[in-house]
Symmetry: C2
């Protein structure tokens, strides 16, 4: 246990006195599962874990911690990829797990809205919506583990941003515990409300640094009754992006996903699953997985088929799924590639974006730079290219030492970020900054933007009590108001 | 001329010295058209009118005004309805007209994005997008006069929010001059960017109180190649809302407008235009105007026809336009009603919203309350009910005195706002707060929300230099940092 200082022990004793019963977990064994995130890249023991049941519980806890100068970090499903929700090293941070605030408070198919507590697992919220023939369209691999509060705090993206937007676009209202221990109740389900500043925007995507989200009201959409999926083989990333612009038009914005996969990614899936066969007669350097969906009686199949047939100058080959089983099988290429890319080893993940018109340059130049410098590594690029967002990952060869691996990660990331910077892009499209990208973020940030952001932090959390060291560097004197 | 104080004259002389040439308008006749808004309800002479050509011009002006403690108000097309952009009474405020910053800087159909200066007239921006087969979907009556900066500053709504969202949802990036005279350049066209706080959200909808928007990058969409319009007669507002929920599903979210009109509104149009004939054989208490649109080869007509045919338990009668001319004619009922509702007199406008599931109650109870108390007045309700937003307006009888008219406005507004409050709604769905609704807003605001908003104002504009008295009351000591 890394909590040993007399101050920590005193703080713990006072906490336990103020919050008796099973509110607080302090035993070594109990802390285990709150100390490690999904990726396994971040492991750190907290001071303790608080498990509130209500927003009032959270508020009382924040007031206590403010008084006692105990830094706090809200925690959801621990599926984030930037080390934001695990306690900072040092053992002084109290984790606030929202897992017991997991109710779906209401679903209204007439309002196309639902109200959900922060600790609700995304998939549970999605199922609750589906029972009312609606869809909550936040969709990504971690949906069975991540929690709504974390989705809001990180402005989660995923597969369906193209059609439905980021989490920010889906939030109608929030309930938030502020750093001073007050509760802001902004849990409305209004579609339009121009009464002064839109305060919820402050907290969405702020990664727990400005307040603790305890509940959210979210937009729902009619549940699609039809889905069509195609895998398309192409000669270049540029052709893929030209196809995207046409497909948006031809499919009347009914596209729900447009995912790039390089040939190397297909090969990862083929190697991992000997039962898979190459999806087309010949290999192509680039593939896109296209999904369209509709709720009404649109002839969706004809729409997608027509779009691909007309684009015969771009489409080298295409497979259209003839039903749900085949559609799932096409998606499985992508899922298998993502799950098995590392082949059990640590690998470099990036999550970058550029204007859509520059995406082909980003992939071509980024992959070429990494392969040129590290020919023995595997460079993959895949992602939500309809949003200009791509994950360029680098898998090191098996025989590297720890230091050689670190050097490769730093070197390859610098190569990729250089291309991103040159093309006016973002080093974090959907994962956020957290602790992992904090230095790279601050180095690149426009000074005016950084000053504005710091002012917001200082006015909403003057003691730097909440999620200190995420997004911004930890300040000396943090928690001293 | 209401500028007479020695301080004002001295301030003007210094301004003219610092900004020579045609930058500053000070002559009585020149100020005329910057002194009155579209509604004619707000008339007030400014200290002078500054007409910058660049963001650097705006920044230099702000720095000068900060030094000299001259309050500023940015001004666009003067089509707002809450008195925000006309100078505050007293003649001490300098109007910053963005009209000379009206360039369309770029349109990219591959990025589905454009970059436009704040002074660009919305319709000019829309035309520029259309040349590239794209649509900028901010759409409302004032689009020929309003300017992009005002659309952003007020988070403008309109007819197509249902499909494309409010202006907030369409902004990819902003360039803003801050109250301290620095320029924040956030003019990116990235679809996804989770690098720290989303600063643009602060300025969207802040009504000029936190910064001066000088340019915006905006999302575009494929230009629809098909539009279908129907006018539907119904027995009740409740039936209209039930039809909405079904139409969203059946038309696969291809609805672009769902507008409520009461029978009294159709009669306003019929009285105003003797060449119009009643749109259906029999009158109905409630009508909805439905518009769907698509870019691809969807059979849009069959979709809308099928939806209405299946809803025969709700639809009393329906007219589907058989071409653009007929569609325009159906829309003309709505436009004529809006333009001619006052019959030349001043009337009470409201712009309220509730959860969609409460909209029927809002209209039924609001109209009944007004008609019960003021049987001689004409109470209308119309608007974007698919967003839960309705304009409930009250036209006084012709023979009232000025005082009686004011009394009726106050009394009727209180009746309507009471219903809104009871149903958990907003007293400003899309028009904003400005000076007109400032008192009603502050009275109703949650103290925590109001405190948060005031803190944002104080940290971003500590001297209350920008648009003082909008949203919040003017503070004593404003402009004294």
């Amino acid at each position: 246990m890394n909590v040993a200082s007399p101050q920590s022990l005193k703080a713990l004793a006072k906490l336990a006195e103020a919050f008796p019963g099973d509110f607080l977990l302090t035993a070594e064994g109990d802390l285990e599962r709150y100390s490690r995130d999904w990726s396994g890249d971040h492991v750190s023991r907290p001071l303790a874990v608080a498990r509130p049941r209500t927003a009032e519980d959270v508020a009382a806890l924040v007031r206590h911690c403010r008084q006692e100068r105990i830094p706090l970090v809200p925690q959801g499903g621990l599926t984030g990829l930037v080390g934001a929700a695990v306690a900072a090293p040092g053992g002084g941070e109290l984790v606030v797990s929202l897992e017991r605030m997991n109710a779906v408070r209401s679903v209204s198919p007439i309002d196309f809205a639902m109200v959900v507590e922060a600790g609700c697992i995304l998939e549970d919220a999605k199922h609750a919506a589906e029972k009312h023939d609606c869809v909550l369209p936040i969709t990504f691999g971690a949906q069975g583990s991540c929690r709504i509060g974390g989705n809001v705090a990180t402005n989660a993206g995923g597969f369906n941003v193209l059609r439905y937007g980021m989490t920010r676009d889906l939030v109608l209202g929030l309930e938030v515990v502020l750093a001073d221990g007050r509760i802001w109740n902004g849990l409305k389900v209004l579609r339009k409300d121009n009464r002064g500043y839109d305060l919820k925007q402050l907290f969405i995507g702020s990664e727990g640094t400005l307040g603790i989200v305890t509940a959210a009201s979210l937009k729902l959409f009619p549940k699609p009754t039809q889905v069509e999926v195609a895998l398309v083989g192409l000669r270049s990333v540029e052709d893929a992006m030209l196809l995207f612009a046409r497909a948006r038009r031809e499919c009347s914005d009914l596209l729900t996903a447009f995912e790039l996969i390089l040939r190397e990614g297909i090969e990862v899936a083929l190697r991992a699953r000997p039962d898979f066969t190459d999806p087309m007669d010949a290999p192509y350097p680039v593939y896109v997985l296209i999904e369209t969906s509709a709720a009404g009686r649109v002839d969706l199949r004809a729409l997608l088929e027509g779009c691909l047939a007309e684009a015969d100058d771009l489409v080298a080959d295409a497979v259209m799924a003839s039903g749900k089983a085949q559609a799932d099988r096409l998606w499985l290429f992508r899922e298998t590639m993502v799950e098995r890319q590392g082949n059990g080893r640590r690998y470099l993940r990036t999550d970058v974006s550029v204007p859509i018109s520059r995406l082909a340059e980003l992939v071509d130049q980024g992959v070429a730079a990494v392969r040129g410098r590290y020919p023995e590594a595997l460079a993959l690029a895949y992602g939500h290219v309809g949003d200009g967002n791509v994950h360029m990952n680098v898998i090191p060869p098996a025989d590297l030492s720890l230091q050689q691996t670190e050097d490769l990660f730093h070197g390859a990331e610098a190569l990729i970020f250089d291309v991103v910077d040159r093309l006016g892009g973002s080093i974090s499209a959907e994962h956020g900054i957290g602790r992992v990208k904090q230095k790279a973020f601050v180095e690149r940030a426009d000074p005016v933007a950084l000053d504005l952001a710091m002012r917001l932090k200082n006015v909403l959390d003057p003691g730097h009590l909440l999620s200190s060291g995420r997004i911004f560097p930890s300040l000396p004197g943090a928690s001293d108001e």
